[in-house]
Amino acid sequence: MSKDGEKSGWKEYIWNPRTREFMGRTASSWGLILLFYVVFYIFLAGLFALTMYVMLQTLDDYKPTWQDRLATPGMVIRPKSDETYEIVYDTRNTETWDLYAQALDKFLTPYNNSLQTEKNKECTPDEYFLQEDTGDVKNNPKRSCQFNRTILEACSGINDRYYGYQIGQPCIIIKLNRVIGMLPGKDGQAPFVTCAAKREDTDKIGEMVYFPPNGIFNLMYYPYYGKKAQVRFCIKSIANIVYNNRVANTHIAIQFVKYRTQCRLLKMSWAMFLQVNYSQPLVAVKFLNITTNEDVNIECRINATNIPIGSERDKFAGRVSFKLRINTK
């Protein structure tokens, strides 16, 4: 094993023809040590798999063990440019805002009234849509309430294909992150979104209109019961994989396998893909006369008595900030 500290022995160390040693070991010695490591690692892998298996058995299928980090749900806006929360465009340059319109189109497709009526139930507004399990019998799959695109009215993109972007009255769509079992609002008071400009920009923001009125998330969309409980069917459309998930090309394969597995678990054909039927409620904000040619920093917040104000560090928990700049000259 030892190199014996001789420099001239390097060549001999690699291959010693006398003792037939490669790197200081004979073939059988190499074989033995490699065999040992193979067996050893197989044993370890087995052990690791075992502990992982045991751990996975302790998990609930429908609800994660801990949700304390999600006490304040995140808020997200659409459209979203690639990396930043900045919406900057020039009304005179169609290309600059057409992107946003397309993104919103794509985003709102699942909310088309036809799809919604097909998939989801029409519920009683202003009260939680509870679908409790009775004891061990799971009340699955759970239904979801319709969120028709038309609720967004002027921001639905049905009448105004460009969501007001071309005339300097852009729509921003706001959604609240899904958290299993979360019941926002209290005493029948639905959570609602308010947007305001940041300090120095207050006089620039102008008038805003919220859709649905007052910017509320209706109580009937809560609670969310989780992906597994609210699964309804697998559809045969690869385009839907991209639903709500921006996947880098290299990872399509992984996603593919994942969905396939989940479909199999639900005893469906592997060629069909999982479709989640829950429709997240949205709020749209339309800026009617925002100051143009200047940066306007806007912050939107969720207002619900039982949602704690998120930590200072997290800029997206219970609020969302973005910059809006509309160039006209």
Binding site: M1, S2, D4, G5, I33, F36, Y37, F40, Y41, L44, L47, F48, T51, M52, M55, L56, L59, Y62, K63, P64, T65, W66, Q67, R69, L70, P73, G74, M75, V76, D82, E83, T84, Y85, K175, N177, R178, V179, I180, Y224, G226, K227, K228, Q230, N244, R246, A248, T250, H251, I254, Q255, K258, T261, V276, Y278, S311, R313, D314, K315, F316, A317
Partner: protein
């Protein structure tokens, strides 16, 4: 005095008349020149010639003008201090030496990676992926770089101050009082600074003075000098104006710089000053010697090679993998750097330094002062000890060892604490002998030492007389009182013609008006003066039988290497010498024949009490002890036998020859295990013959060796692959001390030069401390192995998260901060505590380690640390905790694979987990950091088991026990620290560590238990099958 010793040959330092070169030549030739001999010829010149040469006058001395001129020409009379390394150089050496290089390289790589990324940061063409990666590794690299730098600097400062402390103690040894010299210039005696003495100066020295320069004696009165620090001879040498030997070191008419004048006075002409003196040449030789790296430095270098090898191998593997996986070149390079840097064990440098410091402190407590931290371990690796005799093995104090009276040899107690055997003191002969020894003795205790034990008291006078004085004082009470009772009437001091000393005293009995004549001297001379002998208190005629008995005793004692003195007395008849008789000592008018022989007393510089035991321990520890002395072969051999350097029953060639009664040349040298080698023979030996001696004899004594030869002997041992320790106290030892792998000087008796040259100083001059040193050195080597094994095991699990992050695109399981918390936080105390670990077996019973084979860090340690314990415990335990936390928060392992890009995308604030919930960037990052914390805690949990595993290398922990309190403290400390880092409010902001749910602490428990069981089984197999496959593959 010098009776009974005729073999005063200082052959090694031969004379070379042609090569008189007082001016220093520069360059390598100078070194060889210094190694040769002493070019002094003045001793063979007549006084007039010497005067002429230095243009001085034998009465008036130099003129002031001349002296000033010489002073300018030759420089001050002082040794050039060894080129002291400036403090900043020392500091830099600490900062950039050895292990630090690895960390510096790491730090530089970090900054490099940071720079690369910072430069490409603004590159608009970068992809989303590289942007994400940039941000992440940017701070990672910068953090690491800064921390690595900080670690090196702090550790550097630490060891610098540690060594500075030692050197401060060194400073205190230096004699700060400027030396004075009495010179005669322009006919007047002036006291000047010794530094101002120049060649040609006429100087006067008296007992107690230090000789200010090399001087040619022109007149002397009973002058004796102590040359022990220069030549190793324990007896003071008398000085006279006559040239007695060709060799300047042997001749009587030269006294050497910095030796001490013990008694008498002398006047001489300065012939050499400063660096040209014999002492100066040795000092220059010493400071010019190159010393090699310490064994531990070599080991650390080897370790760095291995670590670098592993790091580069891993780095390149993953570099290639990254390229294959489709990362860009730049990213791959940054991965490469990241992996290499992650392999650097940040905490190890500090651990090693602290371990060495702790040992150094522990040794200092046991009176071993370590000047150079790395030398702490060297003694442990030592395979040969070359020990000086005088002052190291012996007490450097003549002591009465044997007495012969009543036709019988009696043994005196020579131990330092008077614990040895006593003899029958009731004999009348003994009383007479004691009286002669007490009266015919000019030595006396210096005043004001009544409280001190007799042996510790200072004595004014010759070494032999002091020995007698102490011996009599010990056995018969106050010598002064005895002398008061027997008033001295007349005295003939010792001279080399008579070779005896006599004095005449009044008797104790006031009614007895006779005078008592007492005489002592060279036994054969004393016997010539005697006609009767005292046996059992009765005077008997000295017949042939008794004479033979005397001869035998004399031979026997002489053969023991002892200096023998004869004693006789006579009560002068009152009729011839009535009261008031005027004794004339110049023209002897009284009886000096027909005296009554009383007995013999023999003296030796006895071995220190602890030495034989220590030598025995060294032996059983496989260390060869060689005696290298300037003293005479007989004395050397006697002491060697006395302390066990030549063990009982082992014979030298000469012994065999004497036993078999055949000439020495007929004895097969292979038969003799022991060997006494004379300096004369050594000079003629070729290198091969020298190697032959060192290889084939286990017990070697080198006698009459010059400083240069000591050096050659050390080099010879080193050539044979031995790690050599040299112990010595004299200037003559210092070249060897410097050349040795570890030089050990004596703190009390040692000369400044030797202390300068040494790496370690025995503050109590006790050779036995060396054994402690060896033990501590071996222990720290073993324990460093354990510390390194411990530290390295947490090193790989710190890399694996990064590797998986790259390969399977999962969120990073362990962050840089947590890695640093492990390396520089929780790991430190347990790693250091291993330095306190007790030895597993009797480390003093095994052979010294083979520097070529027994490495500090070997492949097996790496294999164990990286391949087995790590994967088993750390990586898996940590990953398990990581997966548990993510799964319990909603991210099942299946979702995690490939999630990394979105996970690390700051703009993605609605990332979906397995359950369909959506997470903002910050929310999932908190979970990720909680995972880091859990991974960290898991490592701590597995480190519990690991530190217990690392406690032992062969024994089971159940055999070894948990007696190491520091280690237990370390276990609690690391746990407390981990809990603190996790739960202390504010840690989330400061270090991004988050509180863990209690259950997460237990994730790694099974793995912790697993590695413990695994390793216990491994050790069991090692113990069960010594030399078996398990031991060959896994014993580190």
């Amino acid at each position: 005095m010098g009776y009974g010793r005729s073999d005063s040959y200082r052959v090694a330092t031969t004379q070379d008349k042609d090569d008189r070169s007082p001016k220093k030549k520069k360059g390598a030739k100078d070194m060889d020149d210094l190694k040769k001999e002493v070019p002094i010829t003045e001793h063979k010149m007549s006084i007039e010639e010497v005067c002429r040469k230095y243009q001085t006058d034998i009465v008036q001395g130099l003129t002031n003008a001349k002296a000033a001129e010489y002073l300018i020409r030759d420089g001050p009379n002082a040794l050039t201090p060894p080129p002291t390394t400036p403090e900043w150089v020392k500091f830099c050496r600490q900062l950039f030496g050895g292990f630090s290089v690895l960390l510096w390289t790491g730090a530089i790589l970090c900054f490099l990676a940071y720079a690369i990324q910072a430069a490409t940061e603004d590159d608009p063409s970068r992809s989303a992926r590289s942007h994400m990666f940039d941000r992440l590794s940017l701070c990672l690299q910068l953090y690491l770089g800064i921390v690595l730098t900080a670690v090196v600097v702090i550790t550097g400062c630490f060891s610098y101050f540690q060594e500075a402390k030692s050197s401060k103690i060194m400073e205190s040894f230096k004699n700060m009082v400027p030396q004075q010299a009495l010179v005669i210039r322009e006919g007047e005696k002036v006291q000047i600074n010794a530094e101002e003495v120049v060649g040609g100066d006429l100087v006067e020295v008296k007992g107690g003075d230090r000789i200010p320069a090399d001087i040619r004696v022109v007149s002397a009165h009973g002058c004796k000098v102590d040359n022990s620090s220069l030549t190793g001879e324990s007896e003071p040498q008398s000085r006279s104006p006559d040239c007695t030997h060709d060799n300047p070191l042997e001749t009587r008419n030269i006294a050497f710089f910095s030796t001490n004048c013990v008694e008498g006075t002398a006047r001489g002409i300065v012939i050499c000053t400063g660096d040209n003196t014999v002492m100066g040449r040795i000092a220059t030789l010493t400071s010019g010697l190159e010393t090699g790296k310490t064994p531990i430095a070599k080991e650390i270098e080897h370790f760095i090679h291995i670590i670098t090898g592993v790091a580069v191998f891993l780095g390149l593997t993953f570099f290639i993998l990254a390229i294959v996986l489709g990362y860009s070149w730049l990213e791959a390079v940054i991965f490469l750097i990241g992996i290499i840097v992650a392999n650097v064990p940040e905490g190890l440098l500090a651990t090693v330094t602290v371990c060495l410091t702790l040992t150094a402190k522990r040794m200092a407590k046991k009176n071993c002062l370590v000047k150079n931290l790395e030398a702490v371990e060297t003694l442990g690796s030592t395979s040969t000890i070359c020990s000086d005799k005088t002052g190291t093995l012996t007490q450097n104090r003549m002591t009465v060892a044997h007495m012969w009276f009543d036709n019988q040899i009696h043994e005196a107690d020579t131990t330092e604490d008077q614990s040895g055997a006593s003899f029958d003191k009731s004999s009348i002969t003994w009383i007479s002998l004691a009286r002669v020894a007490a009266l015919c003795n000019r030595a006396q205790f210096k005043a004001g030492q009544d409280q001190l034990p007799i042996l510790k008291r200072d004595v004014a006078g010759d070494a032999s007389e002091s020995a007698l004085l102490k011996c009599i004082e010990l056995s018969c009470g106050s010598v002064r009182a005895m002398r008061d009772r027997n008033k001295k009437v007349a005295e003939i001091p010792f001279n080399s013609t008579n070779k005896y000393q006599l004095s005449v005293h009044e008797t104790e009995d006031l009614n007895d008006n006779r005078y008592l004549l007492v005489m002592k001297g060279a036994p054969e001379r004393v016997l010539e003066c005697c006609s009767t002998i005292l046996v059992q208190g009765k005077e008997q005629p000295l017949d042939e039988e008794l004479k033979e008995a005397f001869q035998n005793a004399y031979m026997e004692l002489g053969g023991l290497g002892e200096r023998v003195l004869g004693f006789c007395h006579v009560l002068l008849p009152e009729d011839q010498y009535p009261k008031g008789f005027a004794f004339d000592t110049d023209d002897v008018n009284f009886q000096t024949k027909d005296l009554c022989f009383v007995g013999l007393m023999s003296m030796i510089d006895p071995p220190r009490a602890a030495v034989p035991d220590a030598v025995g321990k060294c032996r059983s520890a496989g260390i060869k002890v060689i005696m290298v002395t300037g003293d005479h072969p007989i004395t050397a051999k006697a002491i060697a036998k006395g302390v066990g350097i030549i063990s009982e029953g082992n014979e030298t060639v000469e012994d065999i020859a004497a036993r078999l009664n055949i000439p020495v040349s007929q004895v097969n040298p292979r038969d003799a295990k022991a060997c006494v080698c004379h300096g004369t023979d050594l000079k003629d030996l070729s290198q091969d013959q020298m190697d032959d001696i060192l290889r084939n004899h286990t017990e070697i004594v080198f006698a009459r060796t010059s400083p240069q030869q000591k050096l050659i002997i050390v080099e010879g041992c080193q050539r044979l692959g031995a790690i050599v320790a040299v112990t010595g106290d004299g200037v003559n030892d210092s070249p060897a001390l410097k050349k040795a792998d570890i030089g050990v000087a004596m703190g009390i008796s040692g000369s400044d030069v030797s202390k300068q040259a040494a790496d370690m100083i025995l503050l109590d001059d006790n050779f036995a401390s060396i054994v402690t040193g060896v033990e501590e050195g071996r222990l720290i080597f073993d324990n460093l192995k354990k510390s390194i094994a411990y530290t390295l095991t947490s090193n790989i699990p710190e890399i694996t998260p990064f590797l998986l992050f790259i390969i399977v695109n999962i969120p990073l399981p362990l962050g840089t901060i947590t890695i640093l918390c492990i390396d520089l936080g929780t790991d430190m105390v347990p790693a250091i505590s291993l330095a306190y670990e007790a030895a597993e077996s009797d480390i003093m019973k095994r052979q010294p380690r083979n520097p070529f084979r027994d490495k500090l860090v070997n492949e097996r340690l790496i294999s164990i640390a990286y391949g087995q314990i790590v994967t088993a415990g750390f990586a898996l335990g940590g990953f398990f905790a990581y997966f548990v936390i993510l799964a319990e928060n909603g991210f099942l392992p299946t979702t995690l694979v490939g999630i990394r890009l979105n996970w690390d995308d700051r703009s993605c604030n609605d990332l979906e987990d397995t359950y369909g919930q959506q997470w903002t960037y910050e929310q999932r990052k908190i979970v990720e950091f909680t995972c880091h914390t859990a991974f960290f805690v898991s490592i701590v949990v597995v480190q519990w088991a690991d530190v217990i595993i690392c406690k032992t290398r062969r024994n089971s922990v159940f055999q070894q026990g948990m007696r190491n309190k520091i280690l237990i403290f370390g276990l609690f400390e690391e746990t407390a620290l981990a809990a603190f880092l996790s739960y202390c409010p504010g840690m989330d902001v400061a270090l991004r560590m988050y509180p863990l749910k209690p259950s997460w602490w237990f994730c790694a428990f099974p793995y912790s238990f697993l590695i413990f069981v695994y390793d216990e089984v491994r050790k069991l197999l090692i113990r069960r099958n010594p030399g078996g496959w398990v031991e060959r593959e896994t014993y580190y």
